[in-house]
Structures are given as C-alpha cells and as structure tokens.
C-alpha cells in the first residue's frame, strides 16, 4: 500500500512537472549544467588515469628508460663545421647500471642507426636498432610472424633481422617474407620475424619502439656498423659517435622504480661530464595523470558546485512560487484530510522529480562534454557506472535539500485561509 502510494506521489509529481514544461525545463537548467559538469569531471579524471595506465603498459610499468640526448652546447658547436661529436650512453654505462643495483632485474640496450636497406626491388632508409634479446621482454610486443631475437643470435653473431610493423610497411615485407634476405647498409641479414610496434608519445616519454623499423643483434650492429655515424645536413657534414641511444632498465618491484631511477641518475652524473642523457620513469606518468585529474576536478568541480547551488536555489525559488500559486490546492487537500506530513511529501517528491529529471538531462549533456573534450583535445575520457550514479544521486539530494523548505512552507498553509485564497 505504502509503495503504491509513493509511486502515485511520484506520478503526481511528474504530472505537475509536465504541466509547466517550459518553466520546469528552465528551472532544471542549473542542475542540468551542474550534473553535466560532474559527469564530465568524473569521465575526464577516469580517462586520464586510464590513459596513463595504457601508456605505462606500452612503456613497461616497472621500467626506467635512460635515453641519450644531444646536450645543448654540443648542438651549438656541431652546426658550425665538420666536427665529431661524442655523446650519449656507453656500453660501460649499461654494465655499471646492471651491476650496481641489486633490485634491477634486467637491462636492454638500444643502438640506433639509419641505414639504407633493400628488400628485393624495394630500397628505403630504415631505422635500425641493435639490441639484445632482453629488449623483447622489457618492451613486450605481439609477434605477428616468425620470432624475436634469441640469445643464440647474440652468441653466434648471426646476421638476423626482426622487422617492426613500421619497418615491414616501409620495406613492403609480409609474413611470407620471413626467411628472405634483406640488405642493411650493404650487409645481408635474414628476416626472422615481424612484431607489432606501438607509436605515439606517452606524456613526455617516447615510446621506446616508436622510431624503430628493424632490430638486429647488438654484437652484429657493433661489428658491422661501429659507433660512428655520418650525418649530412645541407652544406655541412658531421660525425657523431654514440655508443648507446637507450638503456631500458627493469626493476624488480614497482615501489623501487623511483628510488632506483634517482640512483641511476646520480651514478650517471658521476661518469658523464655533460648532461647527455635523460632518465625517465613511466610510472611518473601516473602522477602526471593525477595532476591532470586534479586540475580538471578543480575547474569542473567549481563549475559543478556553483551550478548545483544556483540550480538548487532556482528550484527552491520556483517551488516557493508554486506553493503560493497552489495555496488553494493545498487548502483543498488539507480540508479533505491530508496531514501536514503528506503535503510535505507531495511537494518534496515534486522537487525531487524536477531535480532528478534535470539530473538525467544533465547526464545526457555530461556524456556529450567528454566526447567534445576527446574530439578537440585528444584526451581520453571514460564513463563509469559510478560516474553515472553519483551525479544522479547528487541531483536527487539537491531536490531533497532545496525542496524541504518550500515543502514545509506548503504544509504551514492554513486550510481556512487557503480555501478563501483566489
């Protein structure tokens, strides 16, 4: 009995809201925007976290990425005339890192070169990386065909090559290409596998394999190509000597990532005269995501707060007007025998219906905002169940909080006076 009564009350509320469609809609707007902001806020925050996790997955969550960079002064001198610049990470750096810290599980070096390559009639300059088999454990990627580099390749100094998706696309390699010979910088290599690769930027950290077309064993790379690279720019010719471009370090536990990164940084500082390396921690992206989330939360949270407050006051205002307008109705109901409490409930439900409807519309608007944010800024947004339920709960609460005063006001109406009210 009680339940059906509540349903009838809700139905009555809906009817009254529908009676003044435009007025009800305008009244709801504040809640609509407030709830919209809350939904947007939650989905942007959720998206930022998810994006960070996704990036960390691409980079390896327990990894530390040490990259070689050309220091600023180096950059300045080399542009002038022919000159050899020596910078970057060294083979020794890798050994030192691997041996100095007990909580480092594995390290993988990368030596990057650009080499003219040819597969049958197709000739392209490829970005070639010399590395060790550990690389494929630290930067795990799906194997499309064939295999990755193996320790045996390293031991035998086998001239084998693993193409990435990028490289395969450039040189027009397909699955059946495996086993064929590719010429890299004049030497012949056997294609043994094709693997997937990830592209893009993860925060301020480069995805390790986004600039790689083909992997060859480190020892082979050193033996065949050495450490010196010629770079021809318009007019001038420079030489560069870089031993390693990147060292990826895997730490045993997520909680040791940051401290180890700091220690590596400290150690490298001792052995490098100039700052020609950078240590980046993918895990730091989570912090960055948290920061993004916080910023959005502050901005959208204030919008939401103000909108909801203003919306609530708007609803209260309209409900007070409605109570005055319907004084006679209240009088009739009271005369017939409705108790004060029942009048309170009637108006309260009406307000909640109003605010919740606003909340539902706001939810629609709110799901649209993340789409726009994603469209214009490329930021990932995610709508969760909590992201839907929380705003609805908020809008209901708004209805109760701001509906209580008008409802009490309605209940105070004296039936005798109300019945004479015109």
């Amino acid at each position: 009995m009680r339940q059906t009564k509540i349903f009838r009350n809700i139905w009555l509320g809906i009817e009254n809201v529908l009676l003044h469609k435009l007025r009800s809609f305008l009244t709801m707007l504040g809640v609509v925007f407030g709830v919209g902001s809350v939904v947007a806020m939650l989905s942007v925050g959720e998206g930022a976290s998810k994006e960070a996790l996704e990036q960390i997955r691409k980079l390896g969550s327990n990894n530390i990425i040490v990259s070689a960079i050309k220091s600023a002064e180096e950059e300045a001198t080399t542009t002038q005339h022919s000159h050899m610049s020596i910078y970057g990470l060294t083979y020794e750096d890798q050994l030192r890192i691997a041996e100095s810290f007990s909580n480092i599980k594995k390290t993988a070096p990368a030596k990057l070169m650009r080499k003219g390559s040819r597969l049958r009639e197709r000739a392209m300059e490829l970005r070639v990386v010399g590395t060790t088999p550990e690389w494929f454990e630290l930067v795990p990627r799906e194997v499309i065909a064939g295999r990755v580099l193996l320790p045996a390749d390293q031991d035998k100094q086998a001239p084998v090559a693993v193409l990435t998706e990028f490289g395969a696309r450039k040189i027009l390699a397909i699955e059946s290409t495996i086993g064929q010979t590719i010429r890299i910088g004049g030497d012949e290599f056997e294609i043994v596998g094709i693997i997937k690769s990830e592209s893009g930027q993860a925060g301020n950290i480069q995805i390790p394999d986004q600039q790689i077309d083909v992997y060859i064993p480190m020892e082979v790379a050193r033996k065949y190509f050495g450490d010196i690279t010629f770079i021809r720019t318009s007019g001038s010719r420079t030489l560069e000597k870089v031993e390693l471009h990147q060292i990826i370090v895997q730490v045993d536990d997520t909680k040791n990532v940051e401290s180890t990164a700091g220690a590596i940084e400290e150690m490298l500082k001792r052995f490098h005269k100039k700052k020609d390396y950078v240590v980046s921690v993918p895990l730091a992206l989570l912090k960055q995501a948290e920061a993004t989330k916080r910023t959005f939360n502050i901005v959208l949270g204030s919008i939401a707060g103000i909108s909801l407050l203003v919306g609530g006051i708007g609803i209260m205002n309209i409900m007070l007007a409605s109570v005055t307008e319907r004084t006679r109705e209240i009088g009739i109901r009271r005369a017939i025998g409705a108790k004060r409490r029942q009048i309170v409930i009637q108006f309260l439900i009406e307000t909640v219906v109003l605010s919740t409807t606003g909340g539902i519309i706001g939810l629609g608007v709110g799901t649209l905002i993340p789409f726009l944010i994603t469209y214009f800024s490329g930021m990932m947004t995610v709508l969760t169940l909590a992201g839907v339920l929380l705003p609805l709960l908020i809008s209901m609460t708004i209805g109760i909080v701001f509906g209580l005063y008008p409802a009490m006001h309605a209940a105070k109406v004296d039936p005798i006076v109300a019945l004479r009210h015109e």
Partner: protein
C-alpha cells in the same frame, strides 16, 4: 468524564464555545459562547449576516479550526483539544465538505478529484476508480469522469464536489453556501441532491445567507454577533 452524548443521538454538540481572534489591539469574539447540538440525520441551515460568526462556526464544526475555549463533541467524542494530525484524521474519515467555489483541483480529472479522499485513506487505484464511478453516477455525472473541472458547468462542478465529499462515506456533510455561485435552477438541483443525501441518513450542515435556500433544511440556526439569535423549525420532519 463526560456522559456520552450519542445517547440522545447528538452527532454534533458545542458547549460554551468561544472563538476569539486578536485583530491588532482588538479582540474579536467570532463565537461568544455558543451551546447547541445537532441530531444525527438532521439538516441544518446556519444563517446570519456576514460577521455574525457563521463561517467560524462552520470551521469549528468542520474541524478546520479549534476553539479558544469551550468544548466540541463530534459523534460523542470531545475533539476540542485534538492536535492538527488528529483533526485531519477526523476530517478524512468522518466529514465531507462542499464549498461555494467548488474547490476542485483544476489539473486533476473529475475522477481523480473524487478519488482524492480515498487517496489519503490509502485505497488502491482500482477500488478507488470503482468508487469514483459509482459516486459520479449517484450525483448524475456518469460519463464525465475523464473531463477536467474547467470543462464542466458550475452545477456539474458542484456535483463533482458533492461526489468527492461522499467518497469517504461521511456522517456529516458541511456545505458552505453550496449554491452561491450557481443560478437558481442549478442551485435547486444541488439542494435536491443534498436533500436526497439527508434522506439517506447523512447529517447536513449548510451555511447560507439566503432565506429561500435555508427552507430546504429542517432547522435554521440564526447567528448574530457570535451568538445564537434564534432557532427555527421548518417542517415537521424528524430533527
């Protein structure tokens, strides 16, 4: 303890009833010590010029207002000191109201207006609808159930109001100038309806200032300045 008054069939009884309003510095004695009793099944007309206290009397008897002093017995029970909720309960279960300006809720259909007391009585929708249909039939409004009050004539609206007043099967029906907004022909029809209800056993208490209308009642109570001026009997019917 009070002797139960139902012994002599008194459904409504006022004892030294006083209602005093404070109007600024002045005290207005709307009821200045009224003692009167109405028998079950009677039909009373309360008359008097405006300001005589007849409306106050009506509000008190209809449990819409409380006495300043004195006592009011409804169906033998002292209701003078009941709180707001209990008075609401009394109105809901025992009383029916018909007003001069009909007082229907405009956004509700005829059916929903008639069902209103049943809604507060907690009846379910199906039972309420049946009852509303039967009552509409009784007051001659079958087929009008789904109209809005605004689509009805004055007489029809008053019939809806009467049907609504009957919904809870009350002992007493209060009619406050029930024909005040109607032309004389329609007014007569409404009065005939009240007479019919009275014959079915309902006690009817009607406030009016028109002597013609008052003749439909068995008894006329004339008020002046908050006291009873005189009581007249119209017919030889049982009072």
């Amino acid at each position: 303890m009070v002797v139960p008054i139902t012994e002599n069939n008194e459904i409504v009884k006022l004892e030294k009833a006083q209602k005093i309003y404070q109007m600024g510095m002045q005290q207005v004695h709307a009821l200045a010590g009224v003692t009167v009793s109405f028998k079950k099944g009677s039909f009373w007309a309360i008359m008097g010029p405006s300001g005589s206290g007849k409306s106050t009397m009506m509000n008190i008897l209809g449990c819409l207002d409380r006495l300043t002093s004195g006592r009011y017995f409804l169906e033998g029970k002292d209701v003078s000191s009941l709180d707001d909720d209990s008075l609401s309960e009394l109105r809901l279960k025992h009383l029916g109201f018909v007003f001069q300006s009909f007082n229907l809720i405009p956004q509700l259909s005829v059916q929903r207006n008639i069902e209103l007391p049943l809604y507060y009585l907690g009846w379910d929708a199906i039972r309420s609808a049946k009852r509303a249909e039967k009552l509409a039939e009784e007051v001659g409004l079958g087929g009008r159930l789904h109209h809005r009050p605004t689509e009805l004539s004055g007489g029809e609206m008053q019939r809806v109001a009467i049907a609504r007043a009957l919904a809870n099967d009350p002992q007493v029906i209060f009619a406050d100038e029930p024909t005040g907004n109607l032309d004389s022909v329609t007014g007569e029809q409404i009065l005939d309806l009240l007479v019919k209800l009275n014959k079915q056993g309902k006690t009817i208490i009607m406030v009016t200032h028109e002597p013609d209308i008052a003749t439909y009642a068995h008894n006329q109570l004339h008020m002046i300045d908050g006291v009873i001026d005189r009581i007249e009997r119209n017919r030889n019917e049982a009072d």
